[in-house]
Symmetry: D2
Subunit: 287 residues, 4 copies
C-alpha cells in the first residue's frame, strides 16, 4: 500500500472525447505528480460520458493545493467541461454514524476504524435509542441520543442536523427512522444507507420477512446513497448469502446481518477512498 499521507485523488466526469488521458496525465506529470493509479470508464464507445480516477503522489508537486487546483481548472478542466474534485488522503474525512438498536453494522465500522482499515475520523454516533451507549464509549467516540417519536420529528431532526454539521459523510448503520427530504437534500451523495435486502427486491419494512414469505434461495444486502426516494438511491455495493427452507426469519436475520456489515463496510471504504462517482441514479465504483 502506498504511503497514504502523500496520496491525492482526482475524480473527473466530463463529455468523452479523445485526448483526456493525455491532457490530465501530462498536466500532473509536468507539475511533479507521480501517478500511481489510474482508472477510467466511458458510457459509450463514442460520445458518451467519461469518468476518471487518478491517484498520484504529492511530495514533488511544484504548486500548492490551491494553485494546483486553479491551474488544473484553467489548463485542462475548462477545456473539457470537466466536473472534477481533488482530495488528499491526509485530510481524513469526518464521519457521523446514525444507528438505532441493532449493533452489528455500527460495530463493524467502529472496529475497522479502530484498526485503521477505514481511513476516516469517526466524530460521533447518533441514535434514537440509548442502548448502544457503552458499546460506542468503549471506542472513545461521542454518543448522542436523539429520541424520535411522532410528536417531535421536526425538533429531533433539527437536533440531528446540528450534530451532523462539519461532517463529510453520514452513515445510516441500520437507522430505523426516515430522514426528511430536506435533510437528505442537504447531503447529496454524502449519506450512505445499508438496506437489508437485495434491492430492488424487498423495498421498505421487514425485508427478511418479505424474503421468507417469498421463499427466495438467496438473501442480500445493499449499500446505497440516500435520496428522497426511499431505498431507491444509487446502489454502491450488494452481496448475498445462500439460504434454504430450513431458515426461519430469525436465522435469515442473523445470516443477513453478516452480509449487511460487510457490504456497508466496503461501500463506506470506497467512499472514503474517493472511488465512487455518481452518474444519474447509478454509481461508477473504481475498485
Amino acid at each position: 500500500m502506498p504511503n497514504t499521507n502523500t496520496t491525492a485523488r482526482l475524480l473527473i466526469t466530463c463529455p468523452d472525447k479523445p485526448g483526456i488521458v493525455s491532457a490530465v496525465s501530462s498536466f500532473l506529470y509536468n507539475h511533479g505528480a507521480n501517478i500511481t493509479d489510474l482508472d477510467q470508464h466511458s458510457t459509450e464507445p463514442e460520445g458518451g460520458t467519461y469518468f476518471m480516477r487518478l491517484e498520484f503522489q504529492t511530495p514533488h508537486l511544484d504548486l500548492s493545493r490551491n494553485v494546483l487546483a486553479k491551474a488544473f481548472e484553467e489548463a485542462v478542466a475548462s477545456r473539457y467541461n470537466m466536473n472534477w474534485h481533488i482530495s488528499y488522503a491526509a485530510d481524513l474525512k469526518k464521519v457521523a454514524i446514525l444507528v438505532s438498536k441493532f449493533d452489528h453494522a455500527m460495530l463493524e465500522l467502529l472496529w475497522r476504524w479502530s484498526r485503521c482499515t477505514l481511513p476516516c475520523q469517526i466524530t460521533s454516533v447518533i441514535s434514537n435509542h440509548p442502548d448502544l451507549e457503552s458499546d460506542v464509549a468503549s471506542f472513545g467516540v461521542p454518543f448522542h441520543v436523539v429520541p424520535v417519536n411522532k410528536d417531535n420529528k421536526a425538533e429531533a431532526e433539527a437536533r440531528i442536523n446540528e450534530l451532523l454539521q462539519g461532517n463529510d459523510l453520514i452513515v445510516l448503520a441500520r437507522y430505523m427512522q426516515i430522514l426528511s427530504p430536506d435533510l437528505v437534500a442537504r447531503w447529496p451523495h454524502k449519506i450512505i444507507n445499508i438496506h437489508h435486502s437485495f434491492l430492488p427486491a424487498f423495498v421498505g419494512a421487514n425485508p427478511y420477512q418479505q424474503a421468507h414469505d417469498k421463499g427466495v434461495k438467496l438473501i442480500g444486502a445493499t449499500a446505497h446513497y440516500v435520496t428522497a426516494d426511499l431505498d431507491q438511491g444509487p446502489i454502491i455495493e450488494q452481496d448475498v448469502d445462500r439460504v434454504s427452507h430450513r431458515h426461519d426469519v430469525d436465522i435469515l436475520r442473523d445470516l443477513g446481518q453478516d452480509v449487511e456489515r460487510n457490504v456497508l463496510a466496503r461501500a463506506v471504504k470506497w467512499h472514503l477512498e474517493d472511488r465512487i462517482i455518481v452518474h444519474g441514479n447509478k454509481t461508477i465504483v473504481f475498485n
Copy 2:
C-alpha cells in the same frame, strides 16, 4: 453414489406430530427396505406441516410396488393424513424442453443428459423457431417447430399440448412465449422455467436491461415452477454473478447466461431426483 437402479424415493407431506419417523422407518425396515438417505423439515417446532424425503434400496423388499403402496397407505399414511408419493429411480422421467432462439440453457441440459448426469429421458425439444434444429439433432433428440404468432396462439398451443403428452416434466429453457393458464393448470409443479433475473426483482421482459438501468452490482437467475402468475411461481433455485459499471447490457446477458444454465440444470436435476416438495408458493428442496 448408490446404485440408482435399485433406489426408491418416498416424499411425504403431513401435519407434524410425534412418531412419524419411527412409523415410516419401521414400516420400510419391516418390509426389507434399506434406508440410505433421510431428510425432514417442519415449518414449526410444534403443530406445523411436516415434510420428509427418504431414499431406500429395493433389492430385499418383500412386497411388489403396488402392494407396498397399498400397505403403506393403510398402515402409515392414512394414520398421519399423509400426502405421499413413491418413485423409482429406474423409471426415468420423461422430459420435454421448450425453447426459442437462445441455445445456452437447452444445450446445458442436453449436454448433461448426454453424459448421464441428468437422470431422465429427454423425449423432444419443441421450439417456435427452427434455429436450433441441428444442435438438437446432434444429440439424437426429436425437434419440433411450432411457430407462434398472434393469429395462431390457440392452435399452436393445442399442437404443443399434443406433443407434450406422456412427459413427466416440461422445461422452459428460455422459451419466449407465455403459456396459457389452461395449459399451465394441466401440469401443476411439472413445468420449470428459468427466468433471467434474481426474482422478485425484474419480473417480466428484458430483465438484463432492467438490471442495467437500475445499476445493480449482482445479476441473477431464478428457476421456478410455472403457475398462472407470470414469474411468480415457487422458486426452486437462484444464483448470482458480480457485475460492475463496466458491463453493458450485452455483457450482462453473456455473464447471466452462464448463471441461467447452471441454475436451471440444478433445479431440473433436483426435480428428477424427487428432492422438491411444493408447499404453498414455496419449495422445500432436500439437497
Copy 3:
C-alpha cells in the same frame, strides 16, 4: 428456531446396516421424545460406516437423563455397536479462547457470543501477550496473560493447562504458539484452530506471504481440529475470497482476516451445536 432449552442432540457412529433409523427413532418415540431434526450419512451404499444426528425435544420424556442413557445403551446402542453421545442444549458448553495479538477472530467470537448467536459460556481468554486485555474486559470475560518464551515453554503450558480445566472446548483464535502434543492429546477433537490459508495449501508460517509469492487468485482460511500434526487435523470449514495482482501482502491479510473470522465462527457454532462427527482425519458436518 425451536426452544433450545428443551432440545437434546444424539450423535451416533456405527457400522452401517438396515434398521438403525427405525430402532433409534422408535426408541425415542416410545420414551416421549419428539424428533425435530434428523440427518444421516453412510460412507458406502453397503457395509460402510454410518453416522447420524438427531435433535429431539425433551419435555415429554418419560425417563431421566441417566436412565434414558442406560436404556438406550441396552436397547439400541449395544445391538448396533454404536459409538454415541447425547448432549442437552440447556447445558451450555464451556469455552476458553487462546489468542496472541490479532484481535479479529477473538472479537468475532466474543461479539457473536454477546448477542447470543454462539450458544456457549465463554469462561476465559488466555493470551501470551497483554495487548487485548481491555477488549476482553469490555465483554466481562476474564483475561489471563501467560507469556511464552523459549525458556519457559513447559511452565507456561502447565499454567495454560491449569487455566483450561473444566472447559469443553478450546478455540485457538490466531494463537501463535504451538501446543505440545501432550496437551493436544488431552483434548481430542476439542481444540479448534483457525489457519489463515486454504489448507492443504500454505501450511506453516506466513501463509499470506506464501500466497502472495505464489500469485494465487483466491485466498482462504481453514478451521480444523488440532492434532499432533501441525495444520493437518480434520478440516471443519473453509472459505475463500478473491484477490488479484493489485493486493499486496498487507491487503491479503486484511481481506483474509474477514474470511478467518467467519470461518472460525461457523466452525465453533457447529461444534457447539453438536453438528460435527470426526471420522479418521475427516469430519462429517450435519449443517
Copy 4:
C-alpha cells in the same frame, strides 16, 4: 462493447518511473488513437516494475501499423526501457486445443467460440484418443488423433508439434499427457492448462481423489501457463465450489468439471483479449 474490429491493445512492462502514462497517452493521442481503456499496476510505490494495458481505437490513426510501432519504439519505449507489444483485435489469434477423453473443458471452449464470445480462430483439436471426434466435427473444426504410448512419445510429440505450427495459443483442455520441456520451451506463456485442483494444493494425478482423502470443504480448479515444472506455471485464474462429506469422488468430479470449464474459459478469453502479463512466476490480469 466497442467495435472490436477497430480496437488495438498495447501491453507494456518497464521499470516504474514518473511520466509513463503521460508519455504513452500523449504519443497515442498525437497519432490519432482514441484511448478507450487504460489500466496500470506497479509492484512497488516507487522503484518497482510497471505494467500497463491500453485499448485504443484505430480509425483515425495517422500511421500504418509498422510505422506506428517503429515510432513508438523510438519516441517512447526506448526511453523507458519498455518491453511492449501491440495487438489488433481484428487479427484473431489462432488456437489449437489438446484434449484426451473428458469433453467438458473442450466443449465449453468450442461452444463459446461458436457463439462469438471467445474472439479467436480455433484451428484444430488434437487428441491422443479418437473418442471426441464427432463432437468436434459438429463444430466444423478439424480433429487429429495422435495416439501416445510409452514407445512412441518422441514421435507423437513431433507430430503434435507439426500440427501446432502457425497457432498463437495452445489450450490443454484436460490433456492427460505431459508435454516435453522442449515443446513447452518453444511456446513460452502460450500454453494454457486447466488443472483440476486449487493449486498449489493437490499437484499431480487424481486431485479429486486427493481432495476427497483430505476432506476439504471446497474443491477448485486452476488455469495456468505451462512451464517445465508440472502444475507450477503462472496462475491465471482459479475458482472453487463448496462440497461436503456427502460427496464421493464421482460427485466431486462432476461438480469440479463445472468449475474447470468456467475457469478455463475465463483464462483463455483474457489471454485472447491481451489482458495478461506474466511477471516472474505470477500474472498481472487486467480484467
